[in-house]
């Protein structure tokens, strides 16, 4: 019996990532270098963004000539029988491990970037899976593990990701074929040769050095190194009156609320935080890193900087934002970019920024609401990069100085005060329970219907706090309610959870 065996290479990818190109390159590479090559795939529907496997077997020509007979090559990878796995996305490397392709003889080459699956994207909170566990498992599972963000490398090289992966395959030395032969294949393909050779070189170097590359974040040029004299007193107050464990969050919070309104608003923020600190201290917070104050520093800042149209207009008109969207859309230096905002202000959003009395009048009258609705009409596209679009937004953002008189401000102030008093009261009885109440703020986000849904969920939970408190494990119960609120848009999960809670009370009674 012949001892000759095929080299087996599996490529796991998403449909549309160009796995077919990589497979055809490897086939060509094999044929040019003394191998019989066979490749297979299951295109079909998987081509439309689904997970898919391309599979190549390379069999040495020598034994074939000797035998005068073609080898029998398999059409699909078998667990425990794959020499090289190339994955174009991290979770697809995970899938390869799941399918048993990665064993003690396998070289695993993967891009570490994430292409989130729809299940991860549609969650109302954070549905992303833990990528670290996949990296750790891969480290253990493969005989050699080469990982880097090859999508980023491809982008920087202006190449397709397949070229970087092909380069990494060459650099890994898993195939006993020299670099020049790899590059010849790219040259012979005749398509985007220059950029793909650049991508190939990046991949080759990655496999050689095999280090995870990190990218430094660009700094906002509006940030001077030292605090301005206007905000310095706020920071002094923070440092003089609060424990160090609170600094980070409180500083971020201050930054946000001052940016949102003014220095005075920052003081109001610290006033509220000080109340919590007192309660926290009474509750033994010193031994607990002042967790309540820390959490409040974060969530209070978010609530106090609620999204109204003044805020949106402010964020949309900043110079730093103009730079960011140019980066986002990959505009060349000096290229003209026109931007149009999708805005759909409703009567409610307009009333948010009207003086309290006026807003109440409009909201109280169906006729006025109808008229205003008609004036507002359908959604509009505002050209922020043009003067006629920029000016109204600029004007809107300048209404900041009048924000304290607006209807929405009054509404939110009351909501915040109510929430705070609940938190303070809870801190006296159950520290971790109070912590969870503070965190409920995260349910409130978004605009329009989304915001109303969030407030609705928040209020529903606050309304049953008494019942929750009487449970065996109130903290867990509250956590599960909060998770239920983020489960579905219709609120079915939360309703069911609350019903169950009330049911239990009735049964117990």
């Amino acid at each position: 019996m012949s001892e000759a065996r095929a080299i087996k290479i599996a490529m796991t990818a998403l449909g549309g990532q160009g796995g077919g190109v990589l497979a055809s390159w490897i086939v060509r590479l094999g044929e040019n270098n003394g191998y019989v090559a066979q490749s297979t795939s299951v295109p079909g529907v998987a081509q439309r963004t689904g997970a898919t496997v391309y599979y190549v077997e390379l069999f040495p020509q020598g034994p074939v000539q000797e035998k005068g007979k073609a080898p029998v090559l398999a059409l699909m990878p078998a667990p425990g029988d794959v020499d090289i796995v190339v994955s174009a996305e991290l979770m697809e490397a995970g899938r390869a491990m799941m399918r048993g392709f990665v064993t003690s003889k396998t070289t695993l080459i993967t891009s570490t970037h994430r292409d989130y699956a729809i299940d991860e994207k549609i969650k109302m909170g954070d549905g992303r899976q833990a990528a670290d566990s996949i990296l750790e498992a891969a480290q253990k599972a493969a005989s050699r593990f080469i990982a880097a963000d090859m999508a980023q490398a491809a982008e920087e090289a202006g190449a397709v990701i397949s070229s970087v992966m092909f380069g990494a395959l060459a650099g890994s030395g898993a195939l006993a074929i020299d670099r020049a032969s790899f590059e010849d294949v790219i040259r012979a393909s005749g398509r985007a040769v220059e950029s793909n050779l650049r991508g190939f070189a990046r991949g080759f170097d990655i496999a050689h050095s095999n280090k995870l590359e990190t990218v430094a974040k660009a700094a906002d040029k509006n940030i001077a190194s030292a605090p301005s004299p206007h905000v310095a007193p706020l920071l002094d107050r923070l440092h003089n009156n609060f424990p160090a464990s609170v600094y980070y969050w409180a500083r971020e919070g201050l930054k946000r609320v001052v940016d949102y309104q003014d220095v005075q608003y920052g003081d109001a923020y610290l006033d509220r935080l000080a109340h919590m600190l007192a309660a926290d201290t009474d509750a033994g917070g010193a031994r607990k890193d002042y967790k309540l104050t820390q959490a409040l520093a974060k969530h209070l800042a978010l609530w106090m900087s609620y999204e109204d149209s003044i805020r949106v207009a402010d964020l949309k008109t900043r110079g730093s934002r103009f730079e960011r969207f140019r980066d986002d859309v990959r505009a060349d230096d000096g290229q003209i970019v026109d931007v149009y905002e999708y805005m759909h202000p409703r009567v409610e959003e307009v009333c948010d920024v009207l003086p309290n009395g006026l807003a109440r009048m409009v909201l109280g009258s169906n006729m006025l609401k109808k008229i205003m609705g008609a004036v507002l009409g359908e959604g509009r596209r505002i050209p922020t990069t043009k003067v006629r679009g920029f000016l109204p937004l600029y004007f809107l953002s300048s209404l900041r100085s009048m924000r304290r008189t607006t209807y929405r401000f009054k509404v939110e102030e009351k909501r915040i005060e109510d929430w705070l008093s609940v938190c303070l009261a809870a801190s006296k009885k159950n520290y971790t329970f109070a912590l969870e109440i503070i965190k409920l703020q995260r349910l409130i986000k978004g605009y329009g219907d989304t915001h109303e849904r969030g407030i609705g969920n928040f209020n529903q939970i606050i309304a049953v706090l008494g019942v929750v408190e009487s449970q065996m494990d109130p903290v867990m119960t509250l956590k599960s309610l909060s998770e239920a609120a983020l489960k579905d848009e219709e609120g079915a999960a939360l309703r069911a959870a609350i019903d169950q809670l009330n049911q239990a009370i009735i049964v117990a009674a």
């Binding site: 029998v72 491990m97 909170g125 402010d314 596209r381």
Partner: protein
Amino acid sequence: MAERSFAKEVQHLRMGEGDVFHGEGILAVTKALLQSGVSYVGGYQGAPISHLMDVLADAQEILGELNVHFEASASEASAAAMLAASVNYPLRGAVTWKSTVGTNVASDALANVASSGVKGGALVIVGEDYGEGSSIMQERTHAFAMKSQMWLLDPRPNLTSIVDAVETGFQLSEASNTPVMLELRIRACHVYGSFEVKDNKAAEFTLSDAMENPKRDYSRVVLPPSNFAHEVEKIEKRWPAAIEFIKNNKLNEFLGGHKGKAGIIVQGGHYNTLIRALELLGLADAFGETEIPIYCLNVTYPLIDDEVKGFCLDKEAVLMIEEGQPEYIEQAVNTILRNADIQARIIGKSILPRAGEYTGQVLQAGIRQFLEAYAPKPLHGTPQASAMVLSDADQKLIAEIVPPRPAGFCTGCPERPVFSAMKLVQKDVGKFHVSCDIGCHLFSILPPFDIGNTTMGYGLGWSGASAFNAPSKQRTVSIMGDGGFWHNGLTSGVGNAVFNKNDNVLVIVDNGYAAATGGQDILSSRADNKTKSTNNPIAKAVRGMGVDWVREVNTYNVGEMKKVMTDAMTTAITGPKVIIAQSECMLNRQRREKPIRTKAIKDGKRVVRARYGVDPDTCTGDHSCIRISGCPSLTIKDNPDPLRDHPVAWVNNDCVGCGVCGENAHAAILCPSFFRAELVYNPSAWDRFKAGLRGAIIGVMQARIDKRRQKYSFGATP
């Protein structure tokens, strides 16, 4: 034009004696057809044989040189009926489709041509869409071969064997006056390999010879009394002739060794998987050399009794490797052995799974179990498979983390907004029953849309809801693609609804191509096609069928789409309502437009390219936008705001600028985070002037904003 162009590859079809062909299985089949002297080829596209249709479409010139008529048939039924040309005349013809769905559609004609019998070789090439990558119900073509008595070839999956099967298939068909089916599994269709070619052959007797000298034979028509005679003829003449031919030409192969009390019978298509499994168990080498006797069925129907008996006579047990169910071959082999009083035990589904694909792993496990029980001695080889390093716990953890990744609508797909609108309409008028069809639009049943109750077949979307033609407060909505519409939806769906006075709603997704099968042209395609008649509007056909309420809407206009759908669901007008949702398939549009745009930019012409974006500082991370869109380029990333936990939405660089995310933000009143960016390439002097002026004015105001931000700056994070 199809998704993939084979313009370059088809040149390989001109190769002659002595050349070695390198390419995909399906391309090899095309070459084999030309080597066999076919006169006509037809079929309907669908994975895994779409490329066969695409290759043929791109090979018109070569086909013309060889007098081969190629027809992109309206449906598999049309294709099967084409074989009628081989009934009276010595014309070789081949048709192809996706099976079993296509065979279902073709059955009427297939049964007729199988009853009539053929004079010229008739070959039906079926792409068996079974196992991983399949998109249809898991059934076997085998049943069709048996019920209509057509022979079924299942060659070993290498190009030489596949090409041989095509050539001998025609000979077998002619020798037994019976249509022959050639079954190719998904991977075999797409396997890249090589084979030695022969010269192409033009048929001696041509289609025009037949048309100019028509021949009629009453005994070939399926009507009494011939139909009764056909049945007898099948048993008494055609069957024995086929057996004779298969035996004499050794179409089945006795491979492997000759020793031992245990043997294996395998469908040809699974031979390579079997050998690999034996190799991993240490019982075979890479050239298929093994001591275990193997009987390889390259013809799985009919079985050759003598061969089966001969193989089993000296065995105690034989493993039957037969994928899918019911296990027709296993049953037949058992009958043969029982009648001959041969005692060998046939072990098939008692060890191997009854359902599901026979992968390398499945076969390895089955063979190991079989040999351990029935041939304990030969298992002295060393297993070659290497071990998993990961513990079961690690494996379990990975399985929990790795998310499912189903197929879905492409970036910028024009079908997505149809379902976004539908979701919004349901919020207003309440939930309704949705009957789906076959095509890309069926991705609506997956997240994030989760729309659709049933799918009954290609073009059968509206018929699938025909029972709900009853008095009700809520109407039903049916979906149909343009591909399905022309395939048979026009009559089975629209005609049926008109005739039965249906009061419900049909949405036809008109994207200009049979998109799901690879972007082939159809009657209503907008493109000019040299060999086909395109630009036949769906609206005209629907009106001609008798529908009065017809609306054509641009799918990307979500607001308008929503309005028209709401209208259809609530109007007082009774009778069938048809919405034609129009926009070109984005995959094809990009393929068409991108090179033109790139060239224009290179040539210095003024070009404006749009794409979309999300502002991370106004996005609050609720992801409503993703839930009503699901665009692959609308994804998530870390929230740059240290205070926020949930990731923000983000449009990646794959964005093609279709605008659905923005339109959705408007129609659903979501949030102000979406923006459309228009990038101007090679701007005119006027562009530059305007931009400069704007920049200056806006710059002044932004400087004031920056000044305020400087005033409130907290400095760099310590």
